[in-house]
């Protein structure tokens, strides 16, 4: 019958004070009600069309009612379309969210900001038939072979799919832009200008035609300039900016970009000078890789698995250099805690046993080698620590000090050690453990820490030293208590923690959230 059920008519009748409506009358009325509603909607759609809109608003319905000499429905005079909510438990029942507002609140509320006044801006949509690539225009489409070619080929050669070379016209302006950016990336002399260029790369629309050129440029320069640290760093910044640009559709060029990025992460040697801080570059690239995985992981399902495979292989190959191991660990760590838990932690024990001789200052005479080993050790510690930190966070009944680890400020942990060491965990570098240098400067720390990364490096051996020296008994008892507690909480992560503690000793402690720590103390 009619889409308006009889019951609706009865309800409406009751609401306007007609109580004795017979069911037959309701049944008769229902089709007419439907017809009238449709009639009103037809007129409302006309009003909408003449208002040059494609969304129907309450004002259109009012206009339609006006056309039929009916009173408009009051109370829906909002500018935009009305938001309907679904009634819980009913499939087809909707209502408008109409909350009661206290009059006092309305009066006392500060005046809203005056809406901006209407204005006109003008731009060139096209100049002699060509759309200029300016921010006002929609970004150009992805360049692909025109459809006619394919149709044409299907006609005469059904089996052979020959793609005609696509003619790609690049405007003079874009060519100049590309040259300028390439120059800046290569020259390394004007960092402030380069920064501006990066901002432009990250925000300008209309750069899309240049993307293939940029990916090519990056790939070429990375393979050519592995010795040039600054160049590599600049190139990675360029890649990052391109990824950030919302107007660029970079997906089709990802396969060209990935090898160079991974190279910058796990290459044996980046830069040729001692002073080159290739660790920082590796960290930066690790974040870049994580960013790519996060953005395109959904569209390329194999992307992450292939990447982790490469990295794990690099990590587990004892022939590879320690720098490569470091890059692999950082890359895996950036991909998230689950990756670390599943891929790094199982290999932790054998790997650490391999690393052990390198770490020992007496056995390893080459200072450079030992430094690298500590670096790797620090990265591993950080990865495992962050992972365990994340695990511990899951416990529901432990009051967590901060909702997410990233927002965590400097959580101060006061340990029971006699000299009251203050360990603070910084969120950004996460491994940067600042502490007042005690009286015992370890012999390994001859390499002066110059950057934040190196500070952490200096710290790692020191705390190890400290452990060897101090290792007080009372503390061990506390530790045991904690571990027992954790064991009870979660068998799995408890075991993990125990294992980690066996491997790392106290150094894992800064990663255990402070409240949990203080709770047990």
């Amino acid at each position: 019958m009619s889409i308006v059920p009889k019951e609706t008519i009865e309800v409406i009748a009751q609401s306007i004070g007609i109580t004795n409506l017979s069911p037959e009358a309701a049944l008769m009325l229902a089709p007419d009600v439907e017809y009238r509603v449709r009639e009103i909607m037809q007129e409302a759609i006309k009003c909408m069309r003449h208002s040059k809109r494609t969304t129907l608003t309450a004002s259109d319905v009012d206009g339609a009612l006006n056309l039929r000499n009916l009173e408009p429905i009051y109370g829906f005079a909002s500018g935009g379309p009305i938001r309907f909510r679904k009634a819980i438990g009913h499939r087809d029942l909707f209502y408008t969210d109409d909350r009661e507002v206290d009059f006092k609140d309305v009066i006392e509320a500060p005046l809203p900001k005056a809406p901006l006044d209407t204005d006109i801006v003008c731009h060139w949509l096209a100049i002699e038939g060509v759309q200029p690539a300016i921010p006002e225009n929609a970004p150009l489409e992805v360049i692909r072979a025109p459809a006619e070619n394919q149709i044409y080929q299907q006609k005469d050669g059904p089996l052979i799919d020959i793609r005609l070379p696509v003619k790609h016209v690049l405007s003079k302006e874009l060519q100049l832009y590309f040259q300028k950016i390439a120059e800046l990336t290569m020259s390394k002399s004007n960092p402030s200008l380069f920064k501006e260029a990066l901002v432009s790369l990250a925000s300008d629309s209309g750069l899309h035609p240049l993307v293939p050129y940029f990916t090519n440029f990056v790939a070429d320069e990375v393979s050519r300039g592995l010795n040039d640290f600054l160049l590599l760093s600049n190139l990675m910044h360029v890649v990052r900016s391109l990824l950030q640009n919302p107007h660029i559709h970079i997906e089709p060029y990802l396969h060209q970009l990935m090898p160079s990025v991974v190279t910058c992460l796990v290459s044996r040697k980046l830069g040729n000078r001692f002073a080159d801080n290739h660790w920082e570059l590796r960290d930066f690239t690790a974040n870049l890789v994580a960013l790519i995985c996060k953005r395109f992981g959904n569209t390329y399902i194999t992307l992450q698995s292939r990447l982790t495979k490469t990295l794990v292989n690099a990590l587990l190959d004892p022939k590879k250099a320690l720098t490569q191991h470091y890059g692999a660990i950082q890359g895996l760590a950036a991909l998230g805690h689950n990756v670390v838990r599943l891929l790094v932690l199982p290999n932790l024990e054998p790997y650490l046993s391999l690393l052990e001789p390198e770490l020992d200052a007496e056995k390893q005479k080459n200072q450079m080698k030992s430094y690298e080993a500590w670096r790797v050790y620090g990265a591993l510690l950080r990865a495992a620590g962050l992972c365990i930190h994340d695990r511990l966070k899951i416990f529901p009944y432990l009051p967590s000090p901060s909702p997410s680890f990233l927002n965590k400020g400097k959580g101060k942990i006061i340990s029971t050690e006699p000299n009251k060491r203050k360990l603070s965990v910084d969120s950004s570098s996460a491994m940067q453990v600042d502490k007042p240098m005690g009286d015992d400067n370890p012999p390994q720390n001859s390499v002066q820490p110059s950057s934040s990364g190196q500070a952490s490096d200096g710290n790692a051996p020191e705390s190890r030293n400290a452990k060897e020296k101090e290792g007080s008994k009372g503390r061990a008892i506390t530790m045991k208590a904690i571990l027992d507690q954790v064991w009870k909480n979660d068998l799995d992560s408890g075991r993990l923690l125990v294992k980690l503690h066996q491997l790392y000793g106290d150094r894992i402690l800064p990663f255990i959230p402070s409240t949990e720590m203080s709770l047990f103390l």
Binding site: Y35, L125, A126, N137
Partner: protein, 677 residues
């Protein structure tokens, strides 16, 4: 069957149909017959035995008698016919399927008419899918009809009931159909088909399915009237002694003198151009532009000579008393025409886009003056805002310069606003139009009035009352002074600026008249309507002289080619149709937009058509190739692709208005739909 039973059925049938006289007579006859049989039995007086003995007739009568009102007969009859048509020979299938739609809607309306609401709904829903692709809008309308009284009330349904559909069908398909109907004795279907379909049977092979659009459009009662109306003669030629003519003459003079004087004459023109441009302070574009213009000018001359030799376009006299143009306005127009850039499928225009920002969903219409320097917006809060882009352009980037020197108005008193606010209407403003020199603005509104505003005084001059319902559109005539309006009251009206009463009322559309456009020679106006037709009206007599049938939804925009020969119309679904005015035939449907076509505009010399749509694109179409392609060519290649020359997507800005300036710069306007963050 027992003869007496049969007699009873016949009796019952006659009574039910209200043929009381016949029933009485039959009764008498039967009575008489019986008497006769009982009595002498010699004189067989009546022919009543005829139908008793004819088995075919008996069956027929029986089929009538058995539950005349049974609604399932419609369903069964239709579904049988449907499955038969779908299983018919491929060659004839499309012709037979064409019959299904009218049968379907009439079955539905019959069911509704007899009060079987529920069955009608069920019937409609089960077969609706078949016709949705082509007839979606009609079905949506009909869906709401549930009670017999609605059939009476709804214009569309009434016109369907009263009229016959013309269907072209080949002889063999026709025979097939008749054979089927007789064989299966589906008298009901036969009845519907006889009642509502008018077959135009032709001999030979069936046509290919795609070539005629009329076959799939059900147009209600006016197909015949349309055919009749379209016989009338119209004169689509341009006015004699138009400015273009004059320019042509001077142009030819120029070329003559050039032969003798060579470059010097051109130099003079250049000089005068320079002088003018310095006078109005437009050195910005300087020499480059002038050079380009000159080049365009040269080609223009050549092109013009060609056209004039190939096809001397007919010239007509104006039937209206046209306003006298002041000499300086005339001069500026001539200047513009001389500087027009020639466009073609290889020489594309530049497009300047005016984006309205912060409209808060309130912009109902936009209009651009003939020189592109003034932009008016009509808002749903009853206000009209007029921007002088020439002034803004001078102050700002200078990217856009007004093309004529008529904009010497003073700045508004409120210096903070850079637009002129015109208040006066008491309802949403649905349309605004500039007079050709840009000194007046007309606006139409939901308050049923049209108002005339002066852009020099920034004030309302006249309020024209006459329409009874919202006025959807108003357009100035190409020469000013006269204007046409159209409204929800289903009329279009012609007005002159100096009278508050309309001069002519054009009535005839079966639904709202949604848009109106003047013919370049001012003797005709075209109107597009929600009844899916476009009509052409004679301004002098007020008669309808053409009906263009073919759109499948409401017509939203119209444009006339500058030579007066063609018209383009755009509809709600995004289809654009090009019509030949003299034959009232659609030359070609231009597909490409996927949402409402708000605006259409021909380039100055008529070689390109620009269309602006709610799908946030401006498209350019090649008119010359579209009109020249023959049918055979159309079938061979994907000609649609050929015709759409360019698509310019905007950044989520539906295109509300378009205008080619006299120099062939394309202006477009629209309100950005996302708030700029």
């Amino acid at each position: 069957m027992d003869p007496e039973q049969l007699d009873e059925f016949v009796m019952g049938y006659l009574k039910k149909k209200g043929f009381n006289g016949a029933a009485k007579q039959l009764q008498d006859a039967l009575h008489h017959n019986n008497n006769n049989n009982n009595g002498t039995g010699s004189s067989s007086s009546f022919n009543s035995t005829d139908y008793h003995n004819d088995p075919e007739l008996t069956k027929l009568i029986r089929s009538f008698s058995q539950s005349e009102n049974d609604p399932t007969r419609y369903r069964n009859g239709y579904s049988n016919l449907r499955s038969w048509a779908y299983n018919s020979l491929d060659l004839y299938k499309h012709e037979l399927l064409r019959v299904m739609y009218p049968v379907f809607i009439h079955c539905y309306m019959d069911l509704v008419g007899k009060g079987h609401t529920q069955e009608a709904r069920a019937f409609f829903n089960s077969f609706r899918k078949d016709h949705e692709m082509i007839h979606l809008r009609d079905l949506q309308k009909l869906e709401g009809v549930l009670v017999p009284s609605h059939l009476e009330e709804m214009e569309f349904a009434r016109s369907l009931r009263q009229s016959k559909v013309n269907i072209k069908i080949c002889q063999y398909s026709y025979d097939l159909l008749l054979q089927y109907l007789h064989r299966t004795e589906s008298t009901l279907m036969l009845g519907i088909i006889n009642e509502h379909i008018n077959f135009q049977v032709y001999s030979g092979q069936p046509n290919s399915s795609s070539d005629d659009i009329d076959a799939v459009t059900i147009v209600g009662s006016f197909q015949e009237t349309a055919d009749h109306v379209n016989q009338k003669e119209i004169q689509w030629g341009l006015l004699e002694d138009s400015l273009e003519d004059r320019l042509e003459k001077t142009g030819s003079l120029l070329t003559d003198s050039e032969k003798g004087q060579g470059e010097s004459k051109d130099g003079d023109v250049d000089d005068s151009n320079k002088k003018r441009s310095t006078e109005i302070g437009k050195q910005g574009s300087s020499l480059k532009k002038l050079k380009k213009d000159k080049a365009g000018n040269a080609t223009a001359k050549v092109a013009r000579q060609e056209t004039s030799t190939v096809s001397p376009a007919p010239r007509v006299k104006s039937e209206l008393a046209l306003p006298v143009m002041s000499t300086d306005v005339e001069e500026s127009i001539l200047e513009d025409l001389r500087n027009r850039v020639q466009l073609s499928s290889v020489a594309m225009p530049s497009v300047s886009f005016y984006t309205f920002v912060n409209t808060h969903n309130g912009l109902n219409c936009a209009s651009i003056s003939h020189d592109g320097s003034l932009v008016a917006g009509g808002f749903s809060d009853s206000s009209i805002k007029v921007w002088d882009m020439a002034k803004i352009g001078q102050a700002g980037s200078g990217a856009l310069q007004g093309e004529s020197d008529t904009n010497d108005q003073v700045a508004g008193p409120n210096s903070r606003r850079n637009y002129t606010l015109l208040l006066g209407h008491s309802g949403p403003v649905y349309s605004a139009t500039f007079s050709p020199p840009g000194d007046f603005v007309l606006s139409s509104s939901a308050d049923t009035t049209i108002r005339l505003w002066s852009t020099q005084l920034n004030a309302n001059l006249v309020c024209y009352k006459g329409h009874n319902y919202p006025v959807w559109d108003v357009q100035f005539s190409p020469f000013g002074h006269y204007f046409a309006s159209c409204s929800h009251d289903r009329t279009a009206r012609i007005w002159s600026m100096d009278r508050v009463q309309p001069l002519r009322i054009m009535a005839g559309h079966l639904s709202d008249v949604d848009c109106v456009q003047w013919h370049p020679n001012c003797n005709y106006i075209a109107t597009g309507s929600s009844d899916k037709t476009v009509r052409l009206w004679d301004v002098q007599t007020g008669e309808c002289v053409r009906i263009f049938i073919g759109h499948r939804s409401m017509v939203l925009s119209l444009a006339m080619s500058p030579d007066g020969r063609y018209m383009a119309s755009g509809d709600e679904d995004g289809t654009i149709m090009m019509w030949d005015l003299s034959t009232a035939r659609c030359i070609t449907p231009l597909m490409g937009h996927n949402s409402c076509v708000w605006s259409l505009s021909y380039s100055g010399e008529g070689s390109l058509l620009a269309s602006g749509s709610a799908d946030c694109t401006v498209k350019l179409w090649d008119v010359t190739s579209s009109t020249k392609l023959t049918k055979a060519e159309e079938k061979n290649g994907n000609s649609n692709r050929l015709r759409s020359l360019r698509t310019f997507p905007t950044k989520s800005t539906p295109v509300h208005a378009l205008r080619f300036s006299r120099r062939n710069l394309l202006f477009a306007a629209g309100a950005i739909s996302k708030p700029t963050s």
